[in-house]
Subunit: 193 residues, 2 copies
């Protein structure tokens, strides 16, 4: 991003950001992400290309911003500290719940794009990153493990995303209890669980 959205934004900047956000969201419901051009976004938002590049590096950058905007809703619900295992399961359940509550978003993500598309990769990458930060905070107090905390947090966030992807794309009709069972099984070691 060319600007810092965590700082104070002028009315104009807010208006423009919103227009680009909505334009991308609309475009995503119409065609695959790789077919969407910056020109498409600019036509929809009625801004010239140069304005787009005042805010974003490219269309990937806008997508990233879109996820972070949507993601605020989920992240606010997650407790900032607590027990490791509980925290991990909690994050996972909130993510699963979020996608159940936003079926239409998931449909847009998969409609014109495969589950291996850039679109899902970009979103899951964002979620993994945010989960990683939260989990690192859960883990950093715990010095009893043999493994470096940063690696441990990475391991947990990878796991959450893996099970989430499984539930969304491979077994969409799964119930929460079974999903949690999968997660906890792997959390406690895949082999002997």
């Amino acid at each position: 991003m060319k600007i810092d959205v965590t700082q104070h934004l002028t009315l104009g900047a807010k208006r423009t950001l919103k227009a680009f956000r909505l334009a991308m969201f609309e475009a995503l419901s119409e065609k695959g992400f790789d077919k969407i051009t910056v020109n498409d976004i600019c036509k929809k938002s009625e801004y010239p290309r140069a304005t787009f590049y005042n805010y974003f590096d490219d269309k990937f950058d806008l997508l990233q911003y879109l996820w972070s905007y949507i993601g605020k809703d989920i992240l606010d619900k997650i407790p900032k500290n607590g027990d490791e295992e509980d925290g991990i399961v909690k994050i996972f359940n909130l993510l699963l719940e979020f996608f159940n509550d936003h079926q239409e978003l998931l449909i847009n993500i998969t409609k014109n794009n495969g589950s291996d598309s850039h679109l899902w990769h970009s979103m899951s990458g964002y979620l993994r990153h945010e989960a990683n930060i939260l989990i690192y905070n859960y883990c950093k107090e715990n010095n009893q493990v043999k493994v470096p905390v940063k690696l441990l947090a990475r391991f947990y966030s990878d796991l959450i995303i893996a099970v989430l992807e499984w539930c969304l794309f491979e077994q969409p009709d799964i119930d929460v209890d079974t999903a949690d069972e999968y997660l906890i099984s792997l959390l406690n070691g895949g082999l002997n669980a």
Copy 2:
């Protein structure tokens, strides 16, 4: 890829593929992947752009092909079946060994690109994919686990890449035994290990 490199290739096709492979490899040692253009590759290989597009969709596609070409060396060494845990550790050790033996490759990957760059993501994505196929074959006989085999294999390949990345970028002077310890700890459940 526009052509199937597993099928028989004519002399001309082999010659051209090699030229593009070498051109990309050389370009990577000179600048960051995102700064490399198809034009650069074509200048180096002395082929016109249109020829490039007869073989590859884009520069990402060529990169993918480059990894698969380089990766043949590693993959051939890995036993095609065996015990789960042993197999996973074996794959991990071969990957670690490979990068120790090819320091200059790793340097090229990191020199003009961060560890979070497209370049490493592309390579690790390829390795994860290949590891996943091998591990799936190890696991598919084992019906005693609660978790779907496909998810289990995904979990293991994610884990291998996570520990590999840790060893290459966060703790480059790590010894193999410590690395294996990390891997096995996480394999047996991060929390109670």
